[in-house]
Symmetry: C3
């Protein structure tokens, strides 16, 4: 029988893994939603549910932080990680909500591409989080972070292409305003993955 | 006669409390301004004055930080708190300035609601700051932070409703652009209250 | 012969100085580009090159951080500084890219003014970075940071004037949307200089 000295630390990692799963799940449903867009799709409510669950996990992490003396890494880093991971889910849900709010009829070519990049970024994020339990894998963790940086650059380019087309194709300024915002929210979700990656890098670097 | 070992620390708290007062004051005047909107209202200059005073307090805090050896909590947290609190006032003033700059005639239904939420958030913020002097009240401080999180969600919903109506009611894209920005600045002021709350949470958590 | 105990630390400062040079260079080319605007100007590619070089320096800093035991200041501050400095170059390049993407014909009066303020902010930033090697100059470093804060305020005012004129002069909403974004990206580059200044202040304050 093995005996663990750090039962509470493992609990933190469990919560972060759970949160990482929710981030991926929200991104996966968002991509699915765009694949067969319907403003009355039940998937919109499903993302909202994932977002609510993610809020609860965030509060659990912060609550636990207040009741735990020894933490696996600096308290403020746990706090920042939890807050930033929550932001990714919020923004994914926000993008889906705007599509409905703005009564979007037809999805552009670029949005599903951007959602695909977001999904890849969330998966790299989950892998980085899963590797955090073992700091000896710091090289691998940093590779995931570099991958997220790379994806964020691709996201920027897709958004740029999308914006260029918008002005070329749509003479309707209201459509331009709506789509600009939807692209921006989705891109910000990817940006937030990069923020999480930066926080993870910073944690690894401290323990380096 | 009581003797204080920490005269300088109290000074920091005094400055933060003063800054918190200014945040509330700016939000209160902003709400008042919207209640009887007039692009030539003297209240617009009054918010600008509050913003200037707030800048001076921020510089005082950072100056003091450079001349003080022992601080009540980590130096970088004092710095971050001061910077973020200043942002709230800047954004409140920015929202008022845009109303004037964009020659807004008539205030929407949603902006005063959003200003009301901002005022509530600044008041919860002030309470959290006032409680920081006594870390034994950490549970109460965190409750104020949760309250600010809740208000930020309500703010998001009001902004969403406002944006939805804007596209439904206004066929004029220029009006949509103006109002979108005014909503965004006001919402960002509330977001910044949440950032301050996150920093406060992080401070409490470190001393937990 | 003098013997240095801290060869690795100096290396960090070299990289930061190199990064600061790239920030100034990107801002200088951007200002030059606007002085003789041509959507086919080779200067647009030149900024892109500076941005690529800046990315490499950022990765070098983070790589070095993972291979270095003793660092001149806190590891997480080095990480934050590197990330934020990279953002300034990215945004400068982003502003230039949008001018091309949006097929801008004629540059407004305000954009070159804003680019001038950005250039001044990057130069103050470089001076602050150069002074970081000697903490006894903390007063001077903080003066550069105050200067960047001042420039950021001027930038805000120019952007405000530009936005006001846009709505007054252009009845074309598509032009308003394009210019609003270009102003915002340029202003965010100046904001990021302020973020770097805040991080520098925070480092000085910790060692105060």
């Amino acid at each position: 029988m093995s005996f663990s000295l750090l039962p509470r630390e493992e609990k933190f990692f469990d919560l972060f893994e759970d949160q990482a799963e929710h981030i991926c799940k929200a991104a996966r449903i968002f991509k699915e939603l765009l694949g067969a867009w319907d403003p009355r799709s039940p998937l919109i409510d499903k993302i909202r549910d994932v977002e609510h669950e993610s809020d609860i996990i965030t509060h659990d992490i912060i609550d636990k932080l207040n009741r735990t003396f020894i933490t696996p890494f600096d308290r403020e880093d746990i706090h920042e990680l939890a807050t930033e991971m929550d932001d990714v889910v919020d923004l994914t849900q926000g993008a889906a909500a705007r599509l409905q709010l703005y009564k979007i009829d037809k999805i552009t070519e670029e949005l599903p591409q951007l959602a695909g990049v977001l999904l890849q970024a969330t998966e790299a994020l989950k892998n980085a989080i899963l590797s955090l339990t073992d700091m000896s894998k710091s090289r691998r963790i940093l590779d995931y972070c570099i991958e997220i940086n790379r994806l964020e650059n691709i996201g920027d380019q897709i958004q740029e292409t999308g914006m260029g087309k918008l002005f070329a194709d749509h003479p309707d300024p209201l459509q331009v305003i709506k789509w600009k915002e939807i692209y921006e929210i989705t891109e910000t979700a990817i940006d937030k993955c990069e923020d999480v990656a930066n926080t993870i890098e910073s944690i690894v670097v401290k323990h380096g």
